[in-house]
Structures are given as structure tokens and as C-alpha cells.
């Protein structure tokens, strides 16, 4: 609530003609925005360009921002949409052979625990990039950015129930992809 009020003060400042308000908003959210874009599948060098595009859109449209709404939710919506526009050209789909069996052997968690930090990071990035965009988005917003179900619903313009079912589907797909990748790498 306090965060929301602070954002509104900064927006008022900007709309009153003080650019400092906008700059403070950028400083506050820049890392979160770039991290979302990177997690959604962008390359690290492109993530910053896309983030700049996001903030340019914010700068141009801030006067249309509806009061009463949460600024962060509005910003994340722009972020997800802009990232989608950039990433859809290189959209990857889940290859069926990666999905493997639905059954767990019970050894997967042990195998995951044994992975080195860097290997695990690469695995998460690869598995995420193989998920369809709508599942990737809910995973990133919930499990990486820690947004509440209600905020995710507002960001994506859907119902909380939709977020819940997408997350369920996203987790099970992600799990199957990760375990298949682990098996393919002969870690098990």
C-alpha cells in the first residue's frame, strides 16, 4: 500500500513537469523489469534494450495511467507485452520428445540437488525458454518475481482462477521438461 502511494507521488511529480519523478520510478523498477525480460527468454544483451523500450512507453503514456490502479501492475503488463513482441519471432515450442514420461522416478530431486549452481541456472533458463509464453509468464511473475495471484491476474488481464490453473499446468510442464533434460544429460 505504501509502495503504491510512493509511486503515485512520483507520478504526480512527473506530471507536474518534474522529470525527477520519472527518473526515480526508473531507478526503482529498472532491475525488476530487466530481470523479468531476461527470465522470459531474452538474451542478456537484448534484455536491456527491451527494458529501455518499456520505459519509453511508460514515459509517453504515464499521463494516461489510470489512478486507483497499481503502477507496478501496469508496468509489468507493459513489460510482458513488449517482451512478447520482441520474443515472438524467436518463439520456441516444447519439443514433445523432451516431455518424456509423466511419472517421476523419485531420483530427479537428488539429481537436481547434485547439480552445480551454474548448471542449475542453465537448466532453468533452458527449460523456461521451452515453455509456451503464457506459462512462462506466470512462472516468472509468481516464482521469480513473487507477485501475488491477484497482481498476476491484473497484470495479465485474467481471472485469479486462470492464473491458478496456468500455474498448475506451467509447473507440471516445467517439471517434465527439467527432468527430461536432466535425463538427456545423463545426470540420473
Amino acid at each position: 500500500m505504501r509502495e503504491e502511494r510512493d509511486d503515485n507521488i512520483l507520478i504526480d511529480k512527473f506530471l507536474a513537469g518534474e522529470r525527477e519523478g520519472f527518473e526515480m520510478l526508473v531507478r526503482k523498477y529498472q532491475n525488476r523489469v530487466v530481470n523479468i525480460i531476461y527470465s522470459l527468454g531474452s538474451q542478456i544483451h537484448n534484455a536491456e534494450d527491451i527494458a529501455q523500450e518499456v520505459f519509453i512507453k511508460v514515459y509517453k503514456n504515464l499521463r494516461f495511467f489510470r489512478r486507483g490502479a497499481k503502477f507496478s501492475t501496469w508496468l509489468y503488463r507493459i513489460t510482458v507485452n513488449t517482451a512478447y513482441t520482441f520474443l515472438k519471432r524467436e518463439q520456441k515450442y516444447v519439443a514433445l520428445e523432451y516431455l518424456g514420461t509423466k511419472e517421476s522416478t523419485g531420483k530427479e530431486n537428488v539429481a537436481l540437488d547434485n547439480l552445480e549452481y551454474k548448471e542449475r541456472q542453465a537448466l532453468v533458463k533452458k527449460a523456461l525458454s521451452m515453455l509456451p509464453f503464457k506459462y512462462r509468464t506466470v512462472l516468472v511473475l509468481r516464482d521469480i518475481e513473487g507477485l501475488s495471484y491477484r497482481d498476476i491476474a491484473k497484470t495479465l488481464g485474467c481471472f485469479v482462477g486462470t492464473v491458478e490453473s496456468r500455474l498448475f499446468r506451467a509447473h507440471s510442464l516445467f517439471k517434465r521438461i527439467v527432468f527430461s533434460l536432466v535425463k538427456k544429460e545423463d545426470i540420473l
Binding site: E48, A51, V124, L139, I144, V178
Partner: protein, 148 residues
């Protein structure tokens, strides 16, 4: 509560977004069901992978570069606005020319039409004999013109 329902709610259970009676139902099911407990462990492992995920940060000077881009964009917009304005002035000056031409055409077309219809009315109303006399007279006048 059956396994299917519990599995759907495990994500929210781990995120601590469930409370009250539903929470108790899930917990009592998990105590009894090994398969759902396994599912919960898998999900927790995945969530841990995400929470451990490296967070990228913007490079130094992000805001400076952004401000430069915004200013460049504003410059381009100003130039475009100026171009539109100049085009507007030109258009305002040039619009009367085609407008006058169209008006003249609109006025003169009925005149041409009326004249053509008068001629056809005169020639159309005369009988064969009268036409003969009239054309004879015209021929005579042409001959006189030539002699003069």
C-alpha cells in the same frame, strides 16, 4: 478431498496463499497420501530452483542512455510535427486551386449541356422540307462568303 484437487492446490499451499478449512483439508490429505507428498517435494524443488535463480541487473548508465533515447525521440517528434505543420500550410495554400477548377467545371458543364440540347431541339423540330431550305440558304451564304 481427492488427489487431483490437492495437486492443483499444492502451488498455492507452498506459496502460503491458502488458509482456514481448506488448509486443514490439504494437510490431513498430505499426511495420508505418499503420492501427493512426493508431488509436493517435486514442486518445492522446482520453486527452490526459481528462488535460487540469478537475478540480472542493468548495466551502469542505464538511466543516462534511456534519457538520451527519450530526448532523441522527442527531437524526432518535434521535427515530424514541424513537417506536418509545414505540410498543413502548403495544403491550405494549394487547396483553393483544385477547388476553383472543380467549381468552374461544375458551373460550365450544365451550360455546355444546355447549348447542345437547344441545337438538337432546333434541328429536331424542323421538317424535311424546311431543313432542305435552311441548308440551301446556308450553302448560298457560304458561296457568298467565298466570293467576297
Amino acid at each position: 478431498m481427492n488427489c487431483r484437487k490437492v495437486k492443483r492446490l499444492l502451488g498455492r499451499y507452498l506459496d502460503k496463499e491458502i488458509e482456514g478449512r481448506l488448509l486443514k483439508l490439504i494437510e490431513s490429505h498430505l499426511e495420508k497420501c505418499a503420492a501427493c507428498r512426493g508431488e509436493l517435494e517435486n514442486l518445492a524443488a522446482i520453486k527452490k530452483m526459481f528462488s535460487d535463480k540469478e537475478r540480472v541487473k542493468v548495466r551502469e548508465g542505464f538511466l543516462v542512455r534511456l534519457k538520451a533515447k527519450i530526448e532523441a525521440g522527442e527531437e524526432t517528434e518535434k521535427i515530424r510535427e514541424k513537417e506536418v505543420e509545414t505540410a498543413g500550410i502548403l495544403a491550405r495554400r494549394l487547396i483553393p486551386v483544385p477547388l476553383v477548377i472543380i467549381l468552374l467545371l461544375l458551373i460550365s458543364l450544365p451550360l455546355f449541356y444546355r447549348r447542345a440540347s437547344i441545337d438538337s431541339y432546333i434541328w429536331g423540330s424542323l421538317g424535311g422540307e424546311e431543313i432542305g431550305i435552311l441548308s440551301g440558304a446556308l450553302k448560298a451564304q457560304d458561296l457568298l462568303n467565298e466570293l467576297w
